[in-house]
Symmetry: C2
Subunit: 401 residues, 2 copies
């Protein structure tokens, strides 16, 4: 069995925002894939980027880190390349408003956020300093809400008091969403709880706010009444819109399957491709029965593909995938979260305890769980941010020397 | 009071090798300087690079991260910019054999070491694979010994068994030193213990081996008998030679002081500059009474400069600096270290316990100590390496896409 990935790590995406805000180390949410699979002696892990498929010849084409090609033959193939951010046709925003999908993104955001505070401390011009102290998050889904809440915690509580040119209250965090409310999929009641919780933490929420432009100086937003305002900000984070990995399109072209507007490939009821029962596309890159692009769908389709393949080796027929909805959750601030689970809706501290339990359960490896618990004890009982390293190669406003 | 530094963190250099080999996270050895000083309300911390001094006008010239100039006036000035690696006139080696002085270096080495193992797993050519699996460390002082020991632990024990194209014993670690023995300053007995300990861990030691050349394919070494051999290696680490920060030369030019061969500025007995009792150069960048460039000298001269300045404000006269030698130590492998302290010489497990005590004591902040103890429990009781993230921006052999 071969696992091929362009990174060497198995990323626990739901906690990326904690790396971006200095709570967890990279290693805590991204153990080496090789290490995770070390007990499976029949698995080979290769670090290479997939560049194409030949479904007739049954080979995957890859590029090694040094650029050389690599061809991997297969009997059964599972493609689980996830999704990246989508700028809805405005890819030029990406330079000023990077997304939040990879570990590289998270480390970059950590450097951008902490670096912005350092730039503000150096800045003599009040307007420019205010722009360095204004953080705009585009997108009010769970990712946007979680990063907004934690930037507010970081800037307005944990470290905002350790500067001389500004105080914690000068740090502004603005969450923009195009819809009528944030976290709309959680329902009105939880959405309102989340709004109140975020506002208490110091996040300004702008709903029905459509981003028109992003550049080095800030964000242009159109309101419901059609008026356009400019928010001066040096740190914009893009948490709106999702587009499936380009591998979905490649698989679609190779198999004749369709892709939806988000670039997700329409799969058969068992997650395989039309005419290719030996090829599976799972998780965020597949489109099936309108299932959302959440971790639970990804994990359950992974298990389903594995069972289908091992069942086939025993001569069993493929069964259609059945999703078991385990609900969803999002942290709001230090010890608050909202949880929606089969009609049960939790919020506040109780929601946070549920969040804690689920995230500890699904992290990979005992050591990472233990390390996360230790970091969370410091971060959520006190206000500690143990990972505050600014990466000099990712520092904002950095000029060539 | 103003602290100016080109990074945002206070680096505990003695543990850089543990970041480079995946044991500790960056944050664990590099808390934010601002965070370390948060209780001192009269201290301002600025992130900028010092570019020059005007000792007559009493100003420090700096460059902000975005390139703009910044001028800081002072009454008293303490310059503590440390030292970097020296290539003895062969700066072209730096591209293939980076040093081990900054956090950036350590993260780069982590990516180079783990990346080399990944490249070996992909490589079909036996000779090239052997070169990816050969790690050469140049310099048999404490830094070279510690990183060599930990690369051997990492490759030959902790993770070497999780690859399919090679086994732990295919990983070679070669430590080259120009002298007759490694760790010569510790004396013959401890040096022999260290040699035996390293060899047991799997490090090959080559003494009287002078590096003639380093390039993309490896290292050329001249032996005592005058013969030259080539070691094929894709990962070379430079731990030989130290050169003071260029700021030492600037201070010397500005004050008329001399610099020694390592670029260290000759200071007055109280660590101040000739003719400038208000300016101090301390630690690795100063030359005084032949004191070595070790952490103890740096810490004690720091305290001395602080006391001299505060004493002067009370009208007291400056006293000459007196060094209290607290000995030196180096880890050899997982639970072995050597310690030399006032005629007492420890090695093996006892030495390691002394090493542990001292390093926990001198780490900054309770949280970092606790986090390090947790990581060390996993790493030294088991073989765990919690920080195995390969940074895509620092991956070896990476080609532009």
């Amino acid at each position: 069995m071969t696992v091929v990935d362009k990174t060497n790590h198995h990323l626990f995406q739901p906690l990326l925002y904690q790396v971006a805000t200095g709570i967890l180390s990279e290693g805590a949410i991204a153990p080496a894939t090789r290490d995770v699979l070390r007990r499976h002696r029949n698995v080979s892990v290769l670090m290479a980027e997939v560049t194409g498929f030949d479904l007739e010849a049954r080979v995957v084409r890859c590029r090694q880190p040094d650029g050389r090609p690599l061809t991997l033959p297969y009997d059964s193939l599972v493609v689980a390349a996830g999704a990246g951010g989508s700028y809805f046709g405005h890819d030029e925003f990406a330079e000023w408003a990077p997304g939040m999908k990879t570990l590289d993104d998270a480390v970059r955001h950590r450097t951008r956020i902490l670096g912005a505070l350092e730039m503000a401390e150096l800045e003599e011009d009040d307007d420019v300093r205010a722009a360095w102290l204004t953080f705009v998050i585009v997108g009010g889904g769970p990712t946007g809400v979680e990063i907004a809440g934690q930037i507010a915690e970081l800037g307005r509580r944990a470290i905002g008091h350790s500067f001389t040119r500004f105080g914690p209250n000068d740090v502004r965090v603005i969450l923009c969403d195009g819809g009528k409310e944030i976290l709309a999929t959680f329902g009105d009641r939880l959405s309102q709880h989340a709004t109140q919780g975020l506002e208490r933490t110091g996040v300004e929420i702008r709903t029905e706010a459509i981003v028109q432009n992003v550049d080095a100086t800030g964000v242009e937003v159109r309101s419901a009444d059609g008026s356009t305002t400019k928010i001066a900000s040096r740190t914009v984070i893009w948490a709106a819109g999702v587009a499936a990995s380009p591998l979905a399109r490649m698989l679609a072209d190779a198999s004749g399957a369709q892709c939806d507007r988000a670039g997700r490939i329409a799969v058969q009821p068992d997650c395989s491709l039309p005419g290719h029962p030996e090829v599976f596309a799972i998780g965020d890159m597949m489109s099936l029965n309108g299932l959302p692009g959440v971790a639970e769908v990804a994990m359950q389709t992974g298990i389903h593909a594995a069972r289908t393949i091992s069942g086939r080796l025993k001569g069993q027929e493929a069964k259609p995938f059945k999703y078991r909805d385990l609900g969803s959750m999002a942290t709001i601030s230090r010890r608050r979260a909202i949880v929606s689970f089969r009609g049960i809706r939790l919020h506040g501290y109780l929601g946070w305890l549920a969040w804690l339990t689920v995230h500890i359960t699904f992290m990979t490896g005992f050591k990472n769980r233990f390390a996360a618990l230790v970091s969370w004890s410091f971060a959520f009982l006190g206000h500690s941010r143990p990972q505050q390293v600014i990466d000099e190669q990712r520092m904002p406003g950095r000029t060539p020397r």
